[in-house]
Symmetry: C2
Subunit: 346 residues, 2 copies
């Protein structure tokens, strides 16, 4: 059939228009599709492209891909994460220390003698220099006064109540909002690849358990940390646990691999830390033979967070910074590697 010319032309035009539309749809959907696929395939969207991000992804791929020479069976995929300075903020003072200082103030009315007794006097007067000068002994007294004398349940409730109201002095945000978004992505990514993620912290195990499940997706039984002695007692016939003012275990430095072994019973194949307190754990993890991942978070971003290492008392990073180069651990430069620092609260 031959159409009149004007109709034929308009038909051809129509066909072209349709073709163009269809072509656009096809191209657009390919583009969209691949963008979507790309977005889906990027497990660490808050990380800038670079050595650190690549090292994490390559490691996870290598130990999980079927047929990989570095394949590790799922039950052996244990990853440990330090908490302070690795998963959440630790400056200007450790969060748990801020809790202890606030607790001294809250408990002061019950202890009138603290007005004249160090280190409590210094805490009540906000005299940080004197608190620091009181050293380990002073810290132990503060911990005893604020962490013991209650059941674990009561202690956890106190921490929970405190976290709900206390604010970080610089950001004026709840402390548990100051967790690192890029690290939440690492936790989720590793779990999605069959890893079990554990906290291995020098901080108090019962303190961390209060927020670890909600904020990190890490249940209480996967938290390894320092502890004070707990005792079983019958009180008015009721069986109770009671926290004593006595150190039970220090899960820091050479104690950390011991705590991990005791608690997990498997040597990690990946360890994340940010200070010299993680040195032995990083060595023990990565020097076992086989493909391993050691990661050191280096706080380099004074503008968005804090910049500190060798000179800092909190999160002191010196030996582990040297070792990172020697032992080929992945050094994360927060300023360079992280697009975002803190997670927005869901």
């Amino acid at each position: 059939m031959r159409l009149p010319r004007h109709i034929e032309r308009s038909s051809r035009t129509l066909t072209s228009v349709w073709c163009a539309i269809v072509a656009w749809i096809v191209v657009a959907s390919i583009l969209c599709g691949s963008t979507a696929a790309w977005a889906q395939s990027d497990p660490l969207p808050s990380w800038n492209e670079g050595v650190a991000k690549r090292a994490i992804i390559e490691f996870v791929t290598a130990v999980t891909r079927d047929g990989s020479p570095d394949f590790v069976a799922a039950p052996e995929r244990v990853a440990t994460f330090d908490n302070d300075g690795t998963l959440w903020i630790e400056q200007p003072i450790y969060v748990q220390f801020a809790f202890a200082l606030d607790r001294v103030k809250a408990l002061a009315p019950l202890h009138p003698e603290w007005k004249d007794k160090q280190p409590f006097k210094a805490v009540l007067e906000g005299d940080m220099a004197t608190i620091a000068a009181a050293g380990e002994h002073g810290a132990a007294e503060i911990v005893a006064a604020t962490h013991a004398g209650v059941s674990p349940e009561e202690f956890r409730q106190t921490v929970k109540d405190w976290l709900a109201t206390a604010k970080h002095p610089r950001y004026n945000r709840r402390y548990d909002e100051l967790v690192y978004q890029p690290m939440l992505e690492v936790l989720a990514y590793m779990r999605a690849n069959g890893f079990k993620t554990f906290i291995a912290s020098g901080g108090g195990i019962e303190f961390i358990r209060v927020f670890a499940e909600e904020r990190y997706g890490i249940p209480p039984e996967q938290v390894v940390g320092s502890s004070i002695v707990t005792k079983f007692e019958r009180r008015d016939g009721r069986p109770t646990l009671f926290r004593l003012p006595q150190v039970n275990f220090v899960d820091d430095g050479p104690g950390k691999p011991v705590g991990i072994e005791q608690h997990i019973g498997r040597r990690p194949i990946a360890a994340f830390g940010n200070s010299d307190g993680d040195l032995e754990t990083l060595q023990w993890t990565t020097m076992a033979g086989g493909r391993r991942l050691g990661v050191v978070i280096h706080h380099t971003d004074a503008e968005r967070e804090y910049a500190y290492d060798r000179q800092s008392k909190v999160g002191h990073l010196d030996e582990a910074l040297e070792a990172a180069a020697l032992d080929r651990w992945t050094l994360v430069d927060m300023k360079r590697d992280w697009k975002t620092i803190f997670a927005s609260r869901q």
Copy 2:
């Protein structure tokens, strides 16, 4: 339409036959269906019907059914199981003690002095009375000689090798074949209902970890037990853990709730035990308010296994037997309640 009578009759007959067949199929499929459903719905096939089986199923149903007044959220569904005498055999001597005695014999060529030194002399001569008379001090010496001086990895390998060859004197079967089939069903049933299952044992944590994952489906990090001190060391530059001949923690009696709290960070809602070493754990678990389950396995079957309680040194059950009645714990009578005792090895 009216059919001729003979056709009408045969048609009616045919209809009846068809009806009968259809009816049979319907009835049969209802019967088969319900049998299948029943078989599927019995999560504890090795348990005889009775109070004990019913108590376990009713508890699990009550805490897991949506809308139940006793509903417990999945993360809080923590169940602890004693090991010796609760999940596997503990007579005539604790399996770990049998391991220690065998290790003394295996190590004797390296220790010629043991021929004249107690309690080793008694072990080498099979003189059980003298070993028993050596008491706690003697036991500590045996543990030190057989459990320390190696890394956790080396120790686990030694246990693994021993388990592969050692045989129970009465059954002439591997010890890890003498796990209780009805308890494996309880473990699987509870896990299928969102419980996390933990071992809480007076036995050595590293010893149990060797077989708990394969035999019970309980991974190393869900084993709570007694331990000796472990130390971090650098040996020829290699970071290592090293087991010292020194008790770290005794996870028995009043120590068991402490170990559970330390390790799990949650109070169990169900606890299974079989001896006075589980008394405090059963009390602490069941006296917390809310629907709770306490179970005491009573060894009553001398024919298929062993019958013992108040008079036995191994698995001594006296106070917890009294308390079971007072505190309404579920008493399992092995002879009456268990169809099968041991699990066949897959």
